[in-house]
């Protein structure tokens, strides 16, 4: 019936490789099995049916953003050895990290000398790749800063971020809004990445299985030195690249590794190697929260 064909078209647009698995005769598995099968991460799909070639050749693949790739390679180096063995870090409760770049961005840039540089941008993220067995631990907006103006040694950005979730389904204008104020301290070395915690904003959306997240993000930055109470100097023109959305997840499926959860497998505990020193400053400073969560989880 038409509805099914349209469904499969939407499905192909959202997650082409799942649709490919249906097109591929080798994978005509019974419905129930196929659904479970379609949930398998691509790595296992390829390994289990050696369908990589057909899968690889058939399914067009969107190329990821180069900055996002650089960040994830850095995260990989932090989390695993050269041979790919996961490092046991305190607070390393995640066994999955997903980075999404916005599908859609309409950028509005207005300069208001008093309030400083304001960047507002509409972002649409499609989170279809997040499986039902992946539970959200933390989500952050990942900004990469390219400052064109050389920054003096110690300067502080006082930033304000407000997020509105566009909910087109309801006529009422979007109500879920979320605003964070935080200050960034740039040391002499230009900071490349800033993670801004939006977990409390995203948690309810993911918990209700919302897979299309539409955000209006408003980012105002002033340059000022908290020591001197003078009025913030002129805004610096920080070129803001639209942020990526980073999800730290705990995959509860059988194939995923649960090294930190000793109770689950009764495994030999990996040797802890000290405090995890993330390469990224988390301006929300919720490391403590992360640790307590870590302790609770390991307990």
């Amino acid at each position: 019936p038409r509805s099914r064909s349209r469904g499969s078209l939407e499905k192909f647009l959202a997650a082409p490789e799942d649709a490919a698995s249906e097109l591929n005769p080798v994978l005509q598995l019974p419905k129930g099995v196929r659904q479970g099968y379609a949930l398998l991460p691509p790595l296992l799909k390829a390994l289990s049916d050696q369908g990589a070639r057909t899968w690889d050749s058939e399914v067009p693949r969107l190329q990821p953003d180069s900055r996002a790739l650089r960040f994830m390679k850095k995260l990989y180096k932090m989390s695993a050895t050269k041979e790919g063995i996961p490092k046991a870090h305190k607070g390393h409760l995640y066994n999955t990290v997903r980075l999404f770049t916005p599908f859609l961005e309409c950028r509005h840039h207005h300069r208001d000398l008093v309030k400083g540089d304001a960047h507002s941008v509409d972002l649409l993220f499609n989170l279809d790749r997040v499986t039902a067995l992946e539970h959200l631990l933390k989500s952050v907006l990942l900004y990469s800063f390219d400052t064109s103006v050389p920054i003096s040694s110690s300067v502080t950005f006082i930033c304000h971020l407000s997020i509105k979730e566009h909910d087109f389904s309801s006529q009422v204008c979007p109500s879920i809004s979320h605003s964070l104020a935080f200050s960034l301290h740039f040391g002499v070395r230009k900071r490349k990445w800033v993670e801004i915690d939006v977990t409390s904003f995203l948690q309810p959306l993911i918990a209700t299985n919302r897979r299309n997240i539409h955000m209006a993000v408003n980012f105002t930055c002033l340059m000022g030195d908290p020591q001197r109470s003078t009025k913030p100097e002129n805004p610096v023109n920080v070129t803001l690249v639209p942020p990526s959305l980073l999800l730290y997840l705990n995959d509860t499926s059988e194939q995923a590794y649960h090294g930190w959860n000793l109770l689950r497998h009764g495994r030999k505990s990996p040797v802890w190697t000290g405090q995890r020193n993330s390469p990224l400053v988390d301006p929300m400073g919720d490391k403590k929260k992360g640790n307590s969560k870590g302790k609770r989880a390991s307990r």
Binding site: E17, P42, D56, Y76, R98, E254, Y257
Partner: protein, 133 residues
């Protein structure tokens, strides 16, 4: 001694020695053990979507299982029973096989079809110990 008393009865073979007798108990030359195997995802042409690691050593287990398994392989008693069945009762029942007993995980960085990037830690991706079962 019995042979010396009555040499006719002894078959005309080389003098009987104990080492022949014990040979049936020594471990087989190519006994069951872990073997190295290293691959790169580019050999499988998967390097377009598997970003890291570049090389992956899944390892594998190969070799004959000795008749007396015992503590050496941590084999359950059933393995000895299976071996006995194969030797004494029914050779169509397979001898115990050399298989992995323990694994370690692997972290993989991949690009998803929608262009998003995922870091995942998979269970049981590298064999680290063998056993006979």
């Amino acid at each position: 001694q019995r042979r010396n008393e009555n040499p006719k009865a002894a078959p005309a073979t080389s003098p009987y020695n104990l080492s022949e007798y014990f040979k049936q108990f020594v471990f087989p030359q190519n006994e069951c053990q872990l073997h190295n195997f290293r691959l790169s995802f580019s050999q499988l042409k998967w390097d377009k979507w598997i970003i890291a690691p570049h090389r992956y050593s899944p390892q594998y287990c190969q070799g004959d299982c000795p008749r007396v398994m015992g503590h050496r392989y941590g084999s359950p008693v059933h393995t000895m029973v299976q071996n006995l069945i194969y030797e004494k009762l029914d050779p169509s029942v397979p001898k115990p096989s050399c298989v992995p007993a323990e694994y370690s995980p692997l972290s993989v960085l991949t690009i998803e079809p929608d262009g998003s990037i995922v870091y995942k830690e998979y269970e049981d991706m590298i064999a680290t110990k063998c056993t006979c079962r």
